[in-house]
Symmetry: C2
Amino acid sequence: MSETKEEKEREREMINEELLIQALEEENLDLFREEFTALHSYDQGKFFMKIGDHLRIRLYHYLSPEEMAELFEGLDIEEDEYQPILAEMNPSYAAEMLSEMYADDAVDVLNELDKDQVASYLTIMDDDSAKEIKELLHYEEYTAGSIMTTEFIAISANQTVRSAMYILKNEAPNAETIYYIYVIDEDKRLVGVMSLRDLIISDDDTMISEIMSDRVMSVSVGDDQEAVARKMKDYDFLAVPVVDFQDHLLGIITVDDIMDVMDKEASDDYSKLAGVADMDTVDRNPFNAAKKRLPWLIALLFLGMFTASLIGRFEETLDKVAILAVFIPLIAGMAGNTGTQALAVAVRGIATGDLEHENKWKLIAREAGTGLITGSICGVVVMVIVYVWQGSFFLGILVGFSILVTLIVATLAGALIPLLMHKLHVDPAVASGPFITTINDIISILIYFGMATLFMSYLI
Amino acid sequence: MSETKEEKEREREMINEELLIQALEEENLDLFREEFTALHSYDQGKFFMKIGDHLRIRLYHYLSPEEMAELFEGLDIEEDEYQPILAEMNPSYAAEMLSEMYADDAVDVLNELDKDQVASYLTIMDDDSAKEIKELLHYEEYTAGSIMTTEFIAISANQTVRSAMYILKNEAPNAETIYYIYVIDEDKRLVGVMSLRDLIISDDDTMISEIMSDRVMSVSVGDDQEAVARKMKDYDFLAVPVVDFQDHLLGIITVDDIMDVMDKEASDDYSKLAGVADMDTVDRNPFNAAKKRLPWLIALLFLGMFTASLIGRFEETLDKVAILAVFIPLIAGMAGNTGTQALAVAVRGIATGDLEHENKWKLIAREAGTGLITGSICGVVVMVIVYVWQGSFFLGILVGFSILVTLIVATLAGALIPLLMHKLHVDPAVASGPFITTINDIISILIYFGMATLFMSYLI
């Protein structure tokens, strides 16, 4: 059997890893640097996280703060892992590394530290970097401001392509992207944009004002990062400028950061649908995992207890017709299933922006219709099965009709609850699958036992 | 109250929309073209989908096939909507538009048509475009080959930066990205890569072989698109080259297509967790929505019937102790909740690649531990509540102990089932929340009633 490309890559990676560890252990600086600096920063970061802290401490002596900065930018770790790693470094080394990082990435790291730790790093750091970072630290998490970088290229419209190219070549080493060039007026207001592509195919003597586009799409510094991600995906931008309410250009957001946002937001929505508060990753130990999941489980436990007490009120009914208990999980389960389906569509619709104002009532009417259709079909199927199985016509009618009503109500609830939460400015993804399922358990049991009690005379 | 940036934008958009519709209706070609061509292709696409087909047919006369091609590339619609739209166009206009599109986007459209329709468009089209498209049509859906484009810039290593820049300027109008330049040998094998940034900051007389990086990261043409997306996200690439098994450069995949893949895969995983086969969007009518959801609901209905028949076997137990029925939804619900949590972590772990070979057993051991911890805590809580509420010590023990065992088994099942499916090369996301929930219903009821029947003598 031939190896796949991926397997071959993994093998090569492992050989390389062993070589690097050996070089570190034997204190072979030259060999280590030769191999390590040739790696992509993401692979450097993976290696960095894999070795223990005793080897990492050696690494800090082998790599310059600039080199470590690049590694750190590509690091793909949990937020709470930054602090212990920084603590391994000499403070002045750490401060220099932070000042060499792109400001937005440095801010991501600093956001995870205590306030006094941040202050002490900012004090040792060179003034320019400290100033830049301080400005970014102001912005609230999950806003455009918190993920933007200030290392962009901005020029004035009143110059030629030749002089713009000259500026570009000078600023290229420090800018996070050189593929969009922003045009500002004397008050630093954003007035235009052009791509490096436009610049390159233009004649050297052309004026910037002639080739720039003055319909610039931008985002506000307070915009939600998810909305920014949606915009960049829809418009296929590699970077988007961030402005304040007077259109002053404050920074840019690049597509690599946006991919991280998309990935994180998708993970969050997914976790919440499953009722895992915060993202629980495969690497945590059981105690941490249990800590993340228990709040949900305990909350659902009490809701479940409430369901139990509801059934308890129908104990008399149950005592007379024990067979009723047989269909509890079926009816509750169907309510949960259809509710989760409706929920997912509504939450996704809100997240992708498909669900604008005009569509909400349409969605509710649509879900009512869907519930009616699925309820009718499932109801008839259940009625026939129960009738054949139990030989009781009235029991068939009761269970089938309960399924019909339950599916309509549960489908509507699945759509209405996230819409309501969105209106109340609560993240609709919080109305997770288990939550909807448990709510719908309660609804379905009320319907089922309510009808059973009402029509008891036909059942005995 | 001041308007937000987004509200202002929407307002402007709506005014613009009305103006455009009016211009179309009044057959004011000049005004329409002036306003419309200034829009971003994504906004053009939104407008295009909003107006009815009678106005769209006028649009095809007002825009050239090239202009329509750009609009089509930015179109964000369901796959089954392409066919009716193409049918509105004159076939030669449609063929010319398809040939003007980037080959990967044209292939996306053609993939949705019948084979004879594709053949007829390819026949009218110019030969070069038809050849390019035919090659791409071979690749299987969801592979790197199916999303790559063949419009990239490749040069040989044996030339100066000056001559490379000359090639670049010439090819820029047709290439999908000019920000990466790939270096190939005489057999068209990929040997190096450099960014436009590297090119721009280098001296004109430098040889390409000196500045290119020969550690090129590439993907195989048969790789899964999700794996490609993961790689681009991890390594922050704006484009990645696609090669065959002999490293011949076949095409490139750009980041804008990858964002669409990430979005689609996230939607798919989310929908499947909720048990909505395929993505169900908010715009569908109730019949279509019901059609998408019914297969799941019916399957779950039969599983639920099986659960009911299981409880039916314990009818004797239930007849004696009707109070047992009260706790069925609680126990089944908790099993479903913990199973969904464990499932989400495992599916996400598989999707993000965190769950490599070495981690699988760790995950299983971890989930067993998590189930033990959450089960113990929830079990004790339930035991106390049931004891206080019902005044029966043995009932408390029975329900509490059932919760403990159920949570351990259900948590393990939630992790094991997706892992097993992954091993059997079935998409683990198919093991959706409702599926796991229903399986866990069955497990929990067997545990609960099994124990109740066993210890019946203590309960009466």
